[in-house]
Every structure is written in structure tokens, then in C-alpha cells.
Amino acid sequence: MNKTGNNTTFSSMGRSLLLLPLCCFIFSFTQAQDSTSIHSTQELPEFSVSEKLDKMFSKINTQEIDSHVLQSNNTNNLATLLSKNSAVTIKSYGVTGLSSISMRGGNSNHTAVVWNGFNIQDPLNGGFNFASSSTNFVDAINVQHGGSSTAFGSGAIGGTIHLDNQPIFNNKLFGSVSHKIGSFGLNATTIELGHSKQKIATRLRFFRNYTNNNFEFQNNTKIGSPTEKYNKAKTEQYGFLYEFYFKPNNKEVFSTQLWLQDNFREIPPSITANSIENQNEETQKNQWVRWALNWNKTAEKLDYEIRTGVFYNRLNYVNSNIQLNSIHSSLRNTSEAMATLHFLKKQKVIFGVNNSYTVGISENFNNSPSVNSTALYLSPNFSIGNKLNLITSIRKELYKQKLKPITYSINGKFNLHKNYYLTASFSKNYRTPNFNDLYWGGNAAKGNLNLEDEYGFSKDIGLGLKTLEKRITLSSSLSFYHNSINNQIVWSPKGQEWSPDNVKLVETQGVEFLFSSKYSIKKTLQLYYNLTYAYTDAMVKEKSDNESDEVLGKQLIYIPYYQANNSFGIKYKHLSFDVNLQYTDYQFTRTDNTDWITPYFLTDIGTQYTLKQKKYNLLISSKINNLFNVVYEARQWYPMPRMNYELGIKLIIK
């Protein structure tokens, strides 16, 4: 890895470049504001299967991914979507590899992933592979920063990703079929069919994504830097989502969702390996069944949400190099009842109970261990005039018949002006050890039943603004935060066996800046511009005995100090054009920070034309990813594709 003295300059330049579109946008706005105004096409908020986030936190410190962005990433996975449109860090293990998330310097099991109110993190390792989940199976994504989401349970120390489905009650039959082809064997199909009447709505979605990923790269790790090609980096995914909603009256909805998915991926080795083109078989097959049943009722005084769900996850890892073929499964039932009591006009208190029963099944577990946990939570929300909104929550959990310490959060939002507000929050949260930490058994590694919870404190302050005018909608927020994660679990050798212990302390501080805007110049001409930016300083303050002192005070690996995303779009009549810029700063690859991958700046452009007919719309889209053919790695020695294209067509039946 070569490093020049110009890196800091490049880093600053990268940041300045990111600011440029923002300045351009402001300039264009000031120039155009006297033109004829139009009526804004304000969209009505839709109902989500779970309203827990909205009710409990009023979406403070939360970034809602724009519906336009969701639509344009329809066949992308969530890892791609979030890495290009949010301030989270996606840690990717190469082009087909696992993509885990890091929020505010935490690791993947410090970010809760919630689907329609259910936590769907893998109970065995606490992680969630964002590369396995397709964007077209969710209708709304909210990125909640910080540990204040206490009520979502163990694990939400760094933040929470909320994936929600939203019913469509439009009294008609609707559907769509889309097909996308692209470089490296990309072949993606989606089918959607929905029908609704006044009281019933059903929707069925299917997708298949296939990619060969057989792209070429220059292998600088070999003598003579030969050009090589990945031969076994295929991914194939099938997904099926069925939703049924019954609305007996305007205040009540029964619903059920069934999500089946099959993910297969070949795992290419690091390019330092000899046999890239004729590698041994290393594959992973991940299958899941997620079924949920919900009842929501709203009333003047009391709202209810009651839900239960069953979640089965199976992972089959095969590595012929080491003659390994292992299967690890988990089965979880989660049930929850939540009520919201409204009183004194704007005051409310939310209380609920959540039970979760999980069984782990693996040849590396002694029998099939299970964990039962029940939590009670209470969240009084107070509004004082129009100025102050105070949201508090406490949670107490009975976990494996032992009471956990109370966790709590307090969030405040103070409206300085109708458009500007201040926020502040403080919370304590924890993460219970996952099944592998507790129960793993193997020849050289063994879990530790005496592990304690990791716990963390999170505090942040912020300033935000939200403006809604006829031609322009604009929102922005700036947050400064400090997080600590104590008792972090680290696996290290004990005698001649590896086992986990609570030894590490990580402290993180940083800045998050979000900006989003839409501007209608004319009825037929709209612009939008979004920017997310994060600065993350995540350091190890305490370590395990066997770790080198050199790791103390060092930035965590694969957490860039700086990262930013810009997206700019213009829509004229039925034609739209988008540009997305993504900057990722240096990422250290060694815990002592003596090696790193260089920053990269990626540019994607896309265009879409909509042919509107009375009974159907036809969308034709094209996209060029990595427009400037940047050579980069998101994981050291795992090259990423250079310039590549996508072409898509979608038929929407109205």
C-alpha cells in the first residue's frame, strides 16, 4: 500500500468537493426563487405495520431514507443503499462477502435491526448481513442514531435500523414487473402484485437477484501484477414476501407478513491467495423464514400494538479447503404488547411487554441451548407548550431468569423557532452476549457462560431545522455525540483454548450531519439534493491482557474518520437524472493502525424515463456505477468492481 504526502490534502479536497454541490444548490435556489411558484405535492405519511419508532421517539436523531432513493435502489441490497445514502459505516467483506454495519463506532451487534417492530439480528452471532436483504422488500427505512432506542432491547447501543412495511389501501388491483441486467452477469427480476378493497389489502412480492461478479482486476499482490478475474464470486438470491391486512374499521388493522428468502454466495478469497481463478469451494447458503402477526388499534385515549412473530434462520457454510461443512440454525419467537395512553392533550405514556424465546441449533453447541427473556418498558412523553418535547424511557428485563439492570434514555427536543430546534439525549443501554459467545464448543474455542453484558452510555446534542414551503422542503441536522461501550466481549486464548471475556472499553465521539432538500422550480422541473456526513473517532481505551499496548488509543479498524455521501437529482417532466458521490476516508486495517486502505471517491450516475399511460407506467432506467473507474477496496485485498452499468425496465400496472 503506497501512501503519499498528499493524502491529507486529498482528504481535505475530497471534503471540499463534497461541499461544492451544496453551494451550487444554494446558488441555484437564490437565483430561481422569484420564478412562478407551484403547489408542492406533499405526500401524506403512510401507516407502518409498527408505529413504535414514531410513537416513542418522534423520530428524533433519525434519518428517514427518502422514498425516491428507495425507488431508485429498488434492486440493490440494503448494504449498497445505506452505504450511499446514510451516515452509517458498512463494513463489507468483499464483493460477495458479508456486509455488516457500524454506527457510532460500535460493531455489528451494537446496531439493532428491527423489521416491523421485531428485532431480526442473528441470535447466534448478533450480526445482520445487509448484503442479503433486498431493498424492494421494505417500504420505509429509518436510521436511528445513538443508543436512545432503549425500548428496542438489547443491542441498540450504536443505533437502530428500522425496516418497515406499509400497506396500500387503494381499492384496486396493482402490480409491477421489473427486470434489470448489468455488468458481471447482473440479472435481477422483481414481481409485485397487490389487491385491496376498503377493508382488505394483500400484497405479494418476489425477487431474484443473480450476479456472477466475474470482473477483472490487477493483482498487485503477485509477481508481475497480472490481470486476474474472479471466477467463483457468484451470488444468487430468491425472496418472497406476502402481506395481508384487514381493516375492520378506520381504527383497527390486523396484519400478517411472511418473508421467505434463500441466499447463496460464493466467497472469493483475498487476492493474496494463489488460486483466485480456480479456487476451492467456499460458499455460504443462508435461508430464513420470518413470519409476523400484528394487531394495531388507535383510539382517542389508548392505542394498542400487539404482535407475535417466528423467525427461523439457517446458515450452511462450506469450505473445501479445510474440509468444513457446518450448519448453524436458530429459531426465535417474539411477542409484544404495547399501549399508548394519551392524556392532557399532548401528553402520552407508552408501556409494553416483550417476550422472546430463542433456541440455537449447531453441532458446536452443547445440545440446543435456549434463552427466554421478558422485558417491561415504560416511556412517558411530555410536551410543554409548543417548545419542549421530552421523551423518556426505562426498560427492565428478566433474562434467563435473572433480572438485568434498568436501562433508560432521555431525549429532549426544544423548538427554538418554528423551523429550528435543539436536541439532546442521554441513555444507558446494554447488549447481552450472543449464543456463540456463550455456548460455542469446539476443539480450540469455547464460549463462556459467565459473560456479563456489554453496556454503554450514549450522549448527544444537536441542532436541526425543517422548512416546508410551497416550493421547497428542507431538513438538516447536526449532532455531536459521545458513546462508550464497556465490558466489550473479546475472544482471546486462555490456556490452549480461545474463549471470550468482558475486557474492552471503546469510546467513540463524532459528528453527524444530515441535509436533505427538494425544490420545485416549475411544475415540471424539480431538484433534490441530499448530503450525509459523519466524522467518527472510535478508540480502544482498555484491552485484553494478551493484546498489545499498541492498540490503546488507536482508531478501530475499518471505521473511517470521515465519510460522506452526496446525491443530487433533477427531474424534468418524465425524465430524471441522478448523481451520487460517495467519499470514504482512510480505513485502518490493523489494530495498531500501521496499515490502512486508501480513501476512495465514487461517482454513480443514473437516469430514468417514465412513460405514463392510463393503465400502466413504463419505467426505463440506466445507471453507471463507479463512473470514473476508480480502483478501490472496501476490505483490504478484496478488489471492488470498476466502472459497471445497469439497465432496467419496469412495468407498473395502475
Binding site: N419, S476, P493, D537
Partner: protein, 363 residues
């Protein structure tokens, strides 16, 4: 519209503030390698963190009493690979087995410049050489020894052995392959006839998992069988089979003596003093101490010569000094030098997970 203007200005201010309120990323220093004299020193293999392809070679320069790290990368401007299991100097070359990258890098033993990459060997572990033929143990297909023509650096044959072959020793024109069981259990030593590179016989030991061997001045092969920890089907601990030292007669290929070492500890490595009188035993995850056993009257060691944790170790055949190698998880490890009486001589930083190094075999 005034409010919108204000909002935009405030948003812009927030953005600029957030961009420039952060500290600048520190950029790590580059330390170029200078001119190195490889004639008088020890090459140390550092596995690196598994999966991170940051294995490396460190060089202890006896004349200057210092260590140069990242030798391969600094000289050849490319990474070495994932899990550098071992390095073996032979004639004008050094052979580096990069286990998880499925390759053996060949470099000049005088300049350390790259010469070739031996391919076609999955999971290479260790190498020994006999003239212009190299023998590389590999966990491919359970257990193999690849025969390599060192003139062409091509694999010329494969000898199937038992499971998880590790270190090897040559004596009396026989190659002794320690079948360690890999991730499982084995009790055998494959004996290969170097006249025709075929399996001559298999010695079965009355214990488990032979991992390392050395040859003394009388051509006896001293074998360390590390034993094992016993679990039931549900990974409950049941007990241990002890680690045992065996003396193999390389003429008859029979066990001449056995000495119990440790009841519940399972060291990986054995080495021998330059005069062949003392065996040194130690090295493994969490194994503490270097223990000595006399080759004339081997007995169970009681107290360690050096009471240090060591992941790997080796004996400098020039002077009998002991090189203790300590891992420090995913950061750089340590080399601690001791003389043969156990007096500490110096401490140095080496690469991640240092496990062993180049040493001259007795034969």
C-alpha cells in the same frame, strides 16, 4: 421565503462546521527498509491475523542486535499473504509457506528479493529440503506432502500421508512426517523413503497428535506428540491425553523410548541445542515456559528454563540462544532473546502472531 433563506444559511453553516470541527486523520509513517545484511541473523515468520493477509517476515540481525519488520513487503512492494506458517532457508533461497493463501513464496536468501511463487499446494505448512528437492507438508485432502523440484519451483509429485501433516525431519535418507491430526486426531508418523519418494512405513504412537521433530547427532528422531484435550459429543471437557516425547531409531523406525511431558498441557514445538545434548519444548496458545530435556537421560521436566508465555520459539544454532516469540492478538508480537542458561538478552517488536523462524536443521 425569508425563513427558507435563513434555513439554508444555517444548514450551510452547520455543514461547514461539521466538516471542519473534526480533527485531521493521522497518517501512519512509512519506514523504508535500508540495506540489510542477511548473512548473520534469524528470519522469523509472523502468521498475521487470520483472514487479514497481513502475515510477514521479521529479520533479527545478530550483528546489529535489531529487528527489521515487514521484510517481504518492504523489499518486494507487495503483501506476503494470509497466515505465514513457516520460513525455511535452503541454499540461495528462502521458502515461505503462506498457509491460507495456498502458496509458497520463494525469495533470495541474500537479498530477499522475490524469485518465484510455488503454486498448486493447498494449505502449505512446513518445508524441508534434500538437495534440490523440497518436501512441503500440506493439509490438502486431509494430508499430503508435495514434492517440489527446487530448480524449477514446480510440484513434481504428491505423497499421501495421514491427517494434518506438520513439521518434518530427515534422517538416514528417510523423511519423517508428523501427522498432527489437523483439526482432529492422529497418532502416526509417515516415513517416506527419499530414494523413491514413496511411503516406506507408518509408525503408530501410543498417544496422539505428533506435531514436531528434530534429529540429534546420532540420527535419532525426537518427536513431540502434543496429546489432546478430550471432549464428549457436546463439547463437554472429559480430560486430557498427555504430551509425550518419543525417541525414534531412524534405522529400524521403531520407538526407542518415550517420556511423558505434561498431563494437561499440549505444547507444539521442539528444538535442539547446537551440541545435540538438550531438547527444548514449548510454544502454543497460552503455553507458558520453555522446558528442557536431556537427550542422554530424558526425564519429565519439572520447572521451565524460561518462564514466559510463548506462541512459538526457536534455538539459534550459531550460539544456542533461545528466541521466545509472543503473540499480542491482532497487533505486533514480541521476540525475547535468552541465552541457553535462561538469562534474558533483549526484547524486540516483531510481526503479528510470530510462530517460528529459520533455523538450520541438524541434518
Amino acid at each position: 421565503m425569508k425563513a427558507v433563506k435563513q434555513s439554508i444559511l444555517i444548514a450551510l453553516s452547520l455543514g461547514v462546521a461539521s466538516f471542519y470541527s473534526c480533527k485531521k486523520a493521522e497518517t501512519p509513517p512509512n519506514s523504508p527498509v535500508g540495506s540489510i545484511d542477511f548473512t548473520n541473523g534469524i528470519l522469523i515468520s509472523n502468521e498475521g491475523a487470520f483472514g487479514a493477509s497481513n502475515g510477514s517476515i521479521s529479520y533479527y540481525n545478530s550483528s546489529l542486535d535489531n529487528v527489521t519488520n515487514e521484510l517481504f513487503k518492504k523489499i518486494n512492494h507487495r503483501p506476503l499473504g494470509d497466515v505465514v506458517q513457516s520460513i525455511k532457508k535452503h541454499r540461495e533461497s528462502a521458502y515461505i509457506c503462506v498457509n491460507n493463501s495456498n502458496k509458497v513464496e520463494v525469495v533470495s536468501s541474500t537479498s530477499f528479493r522475490e524469485k518465484a511463487t510455488i503454486t498448486g499446494i493447498n494449505q502449505p505448512r512446513y518445508m524441508v529440503a534434500n538437495g534440490s528437492t523440497g518436501y512441503i507438508s500440506s493439509w490438502n485432502n486431509g494430508g499430503e506432502v508435495a514434492v517440489v523440484d527446487l530448480n524449477t519451483n514446480l510440484v513434481s509429485g504428491i505423497i499421501t500421508v495421514n491427517s494434518g501433516p506438520e513439521k518434518m525431519a530427515i534422517s538416514n535418507n528417510n523423511l519423517y512426517v508428523m501427522n498432527s491430526g489437523g483439526n482432529g486426531v492422529d497418532s502416526t508418523i509417515s516415513v517416506i523413503d527419499l530414494n523413491n519418494n514413496t511411503l516406506k512405513t507408518t509408525i503408530t504412537l501410543p498417544t496422539y497428535n505428533p506435531t514436531a521433530a528434530v534429529v540429534d547427532l546420532n540420527n535419532n528422531v525426537w518427536v513431540l506428540a502434543k496429546g489432546r484435550t478430550i471432549y464428549d459429543a457436546n463439547w463437554n471437557y472429559l480430560g486430557d491425553d498427555p504430551s509425550v516425547l518419543f525417541k525414534i531409531n531412524s534405522t529400524t523406525n521403531t520407538i526407542e523410548s518415550s517420556t511423558n511431558l505434561f498431563a494437561t498441557q499440549h505444547p507444539n514445538n521442539i528444538d535442539i541445542s547446537p551440541d545435540g545434548s538438550t531438547l527444548y519444548i514449548g510454544g502454543s496458545w497460552g503455553f507458558k515456559g520453555i522446558y528442557t530435556v536431556n537427550t542422554t537421560t530424558p526425564t519429565t521436566p519439572i520447572a521451565p528454563l524460561i518462564n514466559e508465555l510463548c506462541y512459538g520459539f526457536l534455538i539459534n544454532k550459531d550460539n544456542g540462544n533461545v528466541f521466545i516469540l509472543q503473540e499480542a492478538s491482532s497487533a505486533n508480537g514480541k521476540l525475547i532473546r535468552y541465552d541457553s542458561s535462561g538469562t534474558k538478552l533483549g526484547e524486540y517488536t516483531v510481526g503479528i502472531f510470530p510462530n517460528g523462524g529459520n533455523k538450520k536443521n541438524r541434518k
